[in-house]
């Protein structure tokens, strides 16, 4: 702890007490600033060191026989196999197949989800007509309808994309509707008092008011879409990262499986990251810095 030197009272020991006080304050602020920077650097270091340490441990354990190397391929071998698959184009082919389905399904599902949610939010009869049914369908595990889709569309791309789109649709629709319904009644009253109506009410009040909730829906559904497409590709596909993982199990190629797992995780992280970027661009009023202070945590 720092101690402040007692200031002589009444005496003119300090030539300019104001200047001395300012300098002291300046030093204290510098100290706080450096301390904060040190803590941040430490946090970052710890965050990076943990996975590296785990990987090292894995490598050592697999090589010394503590872990069964046939099941838990050492990380260096996984990396090597991943590099080979990348060069041969194998990894690329599977990734493209999965990304294509994922993006198509996500876009379809979110466009229709947002539209349905917004329409239900502003038009009460539609909400009354569809709300309960949609809520009931929301509870259904969407992957369970894959066999039905396969029955209808055969083993084509359509059932794969549709599985993703349907899962995304319900999450996005429910979040969009909730976003509109939850807008503060006092905000709506202020809008009405200033004669906002029709398109302008929608564009400048309802849509921005619902947007945070819509973005939450998109973020959640992106993570879910990756799960759904992987599961779909396990059973109903001859390409894609899900197929790669499933197939490596059947052929007992754990290093390939690990490559597939890593690729899928990266895909999920990238999808979520992109949506977070979109969120920051669309919601500047949530992210612009300001007087909102963060509480310092130990």
């Amino acid at each position: 702890m720092t101690t402040t030197t007692p200031r002589p009272v009444g005496a003119s020991a300090v030539a300019d007490p104001n200047a001395a006080g300012a300098a002291e304050l300046d030093r204290a602020m510098q100290r706080d600033f450096r301390r904060e920077r040190r803590l941040k650097a430490r946090d970052l270091l710890l965050a990076v060191l943990t996975p590296i340490a785990l990987l090292l441990l894995w490598e050592v354990a697999a090589r010394t026989g503590v872990l069964d190397a046939r099941l838990f391929t050492p990380p260096t071998q996984i990396a090597q196999r991943g590099w080979e698959m990348l060069l041969s184009g194998e990894l690329w082919t599977h990734t493209v197949a999965t990304v294509g389905r994922l993006v198509t399904g996500l876009v379809l599902g979110s466009v229709f989800g947002v539209l349905a949610g917004l329409l239900m939010g502003v038009w009460r009869p539609l909400r009354a007509a569809l709300g309960p049914t949609f809520t009931a369908l929301y509870a259904l595990p969407k992957i369970a309808i894959l066999p039905l889709l396969l029955l209808i569309f055969g083993l084509t791309e359509t059932p794969k994309v549709l599985s993703v789109a349907i899962s995304v649709f319900f999450v996005v629709q429910i979040n969009t509707l909730a976003g509109i319904v939850q807008i503060d009644a006092r905000i709506i009253e202020a809008a009405r008092a200033y004669r906002a109506s029709g398109w302008k009410l929608f564009r400048y009040v309802l849509l921005p008011g619902a947007l945070p909730s819509i973005m939450t829906g998109l973020r959640v559904s992106a993570g879910m879409a990756v799960i759904v497409i992987t599961a779909v590709e396990f059973v109903a596909s001859n390409d894609g990262l899900g197929y790669l993982i499933w197939n490596s199990w059947q052929l007992f190629q754990p290093e390939k499986m690990f490559v597939g797992l890593i690729a899928v995780s990266l895909l999920g992280a990238i999808a979520t990251g992109l949506i977070i970027l979109l969120e920051k661009a669309l919601l500047p009023w949530k992210h612009a810095g300001g007087s909102k202070r963060k509480a310092t945590k130990p």
Binding site: A190, A191, R192, A193, K200, Y204, V205, L211, W285, G290
Partner: protein, 269 residues
């Protein structure tokens, strides 16, 4: 500026007249009789303050004047001319500014909704942003500002809308005492320059005396007009009058008149 201002010939003409206005809310937990037989006349270019115990229907009366609510019986007439902009511009206690619009967009909102062109409405908005002392914060979002600054956005928006009347519902109620005094001075100054018809609800007797030309005192629910008094202080006014003995006397007599009503409303609250 193309703000609607009141010519001296208009002063004294009623801006709003209420005749036998009553309001009952039908609710799940029974009906609430909020207002009963309100007969008032608000003169054009006057500043009226409404005081009364909480829950006596002050906000309801204001919303009826502004057309946000219809009376259950009785009628409200207004003699305001406004063109495209709303006849009354509201200032709410809190949560009236849009968090997703920056200061400039918030202040320009009323004219935006009235289809005033972007250049013109932003010019008006900048003028009023300067009047309330927020120049430099045009691009800031409300959450980046203090409560007092957010209320100044709301006040600037009401003036910038160009409506001939302003309806304010406890606009300074959520502010700390010092900020509140500054904002009262601001309101006095802006109103004395513009002379719009203002109706302001407040729970502070001092505020009503400082700002108003007349004070409407309301009874506990169902709200009735208990008394209307003229404020004896001349204009231009400033907060210094709060130190005078006339002020203390006026405050005391208003409080005497309100005390029973407040007690009633507390008992049934």
């Amino acid at each position: 500026m193309t703000q609607t201002t009141t010519t001296s010939a208009d002063v004294g003409r009623p801006a709003f007249t209420t005749r036998g206005v009553s309001k009952a809310f039908v609710g799940r937990h029974g009906n609430v009789h909020a207002l009963s037989d309100i007969n008032l006349e608000f003169r054009t270019g006057s500043f009226t303050c409404i005081v009364g115990p909480s829950g006596c229907g002050k906000s309801t009366l204001l919303r009826i004047l502004g057309g946000l609510e219809t009376p259950t019986s009785g009628e409200v007439t207004d003699h305001l001319e406004a063109g495209a902009v709303p006849k009354s511009a509201f200032v709410f206690q809190e949560h009236g500014v849009f968090p997703w619009l920056n200061v400039l967009q918030n202040v320009a909102f009323g004219e935006h909704m009235a289809n005033v062109g972007k250049r013109e409405r932003e010019e008006h908005a900048r003028h009023w942003i300067a009047e309330v002392g927020l120049t430099g914060f045009e691009q800031a979002y409300p959450h980046q500002l203090s409560g007092g600054m957010r209320q100044r956005i709301a006040i600037a928006r009401a003036f910038a809308t160009g409506s001939p009347s302003l309806l304010m519902d406890e606009p300074l109620g959520a502010l700390d005492a010092q900020t509140r005094m500054l904002m009262q001075e601001l309101l006095v100054r802006l109103w004395e320059a513009e002379r719009k018809t203002v109706v302001l609800v407040t729970h502070a007797i001092e505020e009503a005396l400082l700002l108003g030309d007349q004070i409407v005192m309301m009874s506990a629910r169902p709200g009735r007009v208990k008394e209307v008094i003229d404020v004896p202080f001349s204009r231009p006014r400033d907060v210094a009058i709060e130190g005078t003995s006339e002020f203390a006397q006026a405050r005391q007599s208003i409080w005497e008149s309100l005390r029973d009503e407040v007690q009633l409303s507390v008992r049934y609250a």
